[in-house]
Amino acid sequence: MTFFFEVLIGGLLSGVLYALVALGFVLIFKASGVFNFAQGAMVFFAALTFVGFTEVLPGWTGLAEGGRAVFWLAFLLALGSMIVLGIATEKVVLRPLVNQPAITLFMATIGLTFLVEGIAQGIWGTSVRGLDLGIQDEPIMWVLDRADMIVSKFDVFAAAVALVLFIVLALLFQYTRVGRALRAVADDHQAALSVGIPLKHIWAIVWGVAGFVALVAGLIWGARNGVQFALTFTALKALPVLILGGFTSVPGAILGGLIIGASEKLAEVYVGPFVGGGIESWFPYILALLFLLVRPEGLFGEKHIDRV
């Protein structure tokens, strides 16, 4: 039983990371109706930029290597790069494609994925980098003593960061002027425009926020698995999460992430041995697919009504 809970908790915690990536998708989809396939590439870009800056900053500024100042400066610079990237994407790629079918926009973001990956690796190189956030990936002794379970310190830290991020975003959306505008735009572009909400600014803000979320996700994923090209695949794992939770719902992204994370780990451990293992690679998709047959709009998605 302890083992079951261990797997479950491990799964839930990795689910938090999926949720983090999925959140970036949801933000952009809600506000601009664009399904941003490049979110994974943005996560990769963010992590790589951060690591790149931590490497070059000591040389430029004379700050101590691995110090706190370098960390925050690199964080700010990476954040700045992400915001610039987001806004540039919005302006260069998506603005000219306004009023095109959603599928066209989707394919454009696939192109963008390659572009961003190429640029990131072109600037910072292709080698795998380690990323140290100062939290070790080791079991928490307290839990190990009391419940005889292995729960990684790092996973708990990641979950806490994600939780803080979710709360901050929820507050931002709920109680600020910008948040209200964002929700209005998400609800109905035309109505929002007609009451005087500057759509273009809002889109720029959303892409900026999505860049920020990508940076946080990139740091945590990068610290866990190393900053490498495989980071871009996190986006692929986030897709079933979105399907499960619904494309337009932030709580859906979180819950979907938890379900996918937990179920894929449990399936790998309990079902995997019977079919030869490695089912983690496709299980979330099949789960999401089966789920779609029952509820095509996801857990919290908006019910879509077709009109001729």
């Binding site: 399904f35 260069v92 790629v93 000219p96 494609l97 095109q100 959603a102 599928i103 066209t104 989707f106 394919m107 454009a108 696939i110 192109g111 963008l112 994925t113 390659f114 572009l115 961003v116 990956e117 190429g118 640029i119 690796q121 072109g122 190189g125 292709t126 692929l236 897709l239 079933p240 979105l242 399907i243 494309f247 079919v275 030869g276 293992g277 490695g278 089912i279 690679s281 496709w282 998709y285 099949i286 999401a288 697919l289 779609l292 047959l293 095509p296 077709d306 009109r307 001729v308």
Partner: protein, 355 residues
């Protein structure tokens, strides 16, 4: 002046319904055919036949398949490589397990396997559409590759699922040189392209396009959505499956399931975006473009211009150029290179007196 249909009257239904109603197009078509069948074998060397022309034809077939599904029936698929894998492994197994199996029959049977799998993964399209469907086809992509790797039966228990294509013989005649392989591929691709062209300009294709443009409206005017969508999935997967089998038998010779990865699916998607979504000709142009671009870049990188490009950029230049081109085409010419060709023809009709 030279490209004008004035004076060409259609005196029978047959003439009215032909694929190329304008004489100049017909001449152009036969010249192109003559070039591909007669001139190319005479002038092309081994490298061109093996490494460029054959893959271009095979990818054209795969792009054709995806174009039927995405361009005509409007169902976005990110799993075309997986259907190619089904075709390749299906053909391999038919050849392996049945004695004296003719290659062409095995090819068609392999395609039918892919079609069956395509229908299976197309089933969700009845309930979901758009991005949701794209993700559903991702399920096909990962699941099929996993099955082919995990279950040794499909690859006759070779290590990591690698299969080696058997010798191809048709009526006792062995197709073993690059030239013969090229010609066989060319014939097969031509036949399939003809079928595709006729499908999309007949009732079948019109149904697909109606579903693409608005499925609810299509349903209202009496098109059975289920049949039409599944038909598109089946035919598209069949094309991809045959392309996959050719990929294994005519091009690489040795393939592994991991070779049919998501990257290949994306490449095929890029082919139809750049070539032209919803265009038969576009599938060919797009495939040629995507296959030739890396070759071209490689050549450029190794000449004097390449010296100015820093090596770390050069390695990623292909990614950047691919991505940039996709975005560029979607913005500037969403209908791809095929549309440019069409515009050029329009211009030619009134040239040199545009007013």
């Amino acid at each position: 002046m030279f490209y004008r249909e004035a004076g060409q009257f259609k005196a029978s239904y047959q003439e009215d319904q032909q694929i190329f109603p304008i004489r100049q197009d017909r001449i152009g078509f036969w010249v192109a055919m003559a070039f591909l069948f007669l001139a190319v074998p005479m002038i092309a060397n081994q490298y061109w036949l093996q490494a460029i022309l054959t893959p271009v034809l095979i990818f054209s077939l795969a792009a054709l398949g995806l174009n039927i599904l995405t361009g005509y029936a409007g169902q976005l698929s990110l799993g075309s490589a997986a259907f190619m894998a089904v075709g390749a492994f299906g053909t391999y197994n038919f050849m392996l397990r049945i004695d004296g199996m003719p290659f062409l029959v095995a090819l068609v049977l392999g395609g039918l396997c892919a079609a069956a799998v395509g229908i299976l993964f197309g089933l969700p399209s009845l309930r979901i559409k758009g991005f949701y469907l794209a993700v559903a086809t991702l399920a096909a992509q990962f699941f099929i590759v996993w099955v082919l790797v995990k279950f040794g039966w499909f690859s006759n228990y070779s290590t990591s699922g690698v299969i080696t294509a058997q010798q191809v013989e048709i009526f006792g005649f062995a197709f073993d040189t690059p030239l013969l392989k090229y010609l066989l591929t060319l014939v097969i691709v031509c036949v399939f392209a003809l079928f595709a062209k006729n499908m999309v300009r007949s009732a079948t294709g019109r149904k697909w396009m109606a579903v693409r443009d608005m499925d609810v409206a299509a349903e209202v005017i009496g098109i059975r959505l289920m049949g039409t969508k599944l038909q598109a999935f089946a035919i598209s997967s069949f094309y991809c499956g045959v392309a996959g089998a050719l990929y294994a038998y005519m091009y690489l010779g040795t393939v592994e399931p991991e070779g049919f990865n998501l990257d290949l699916s994306f490449r095929i998607l890029f082919m139809i975006i750049i070539g032209g979504v919803g265009s038969i000709l576009g599938s060919f142009i797009g495939a040629a473009f995507i296959v030739l671009l890396p070759v071209f870049l490689n050549v450029v990188m190794h000449t004097s211009i390449g010296a100015f490009v820093p090596p770390n950029i050069a390695a990623n230049l292909e990614l950047i150029i691919f991505g940039g081109l996709i975005v560029f085409f979607l913005i500037v010419e969403p209908h791809g290179l095929a549309r440019l060709w069409q515009l050029a023809k329009e211009k030619l009709r009134i040239w040199p007196f545009p007013h």
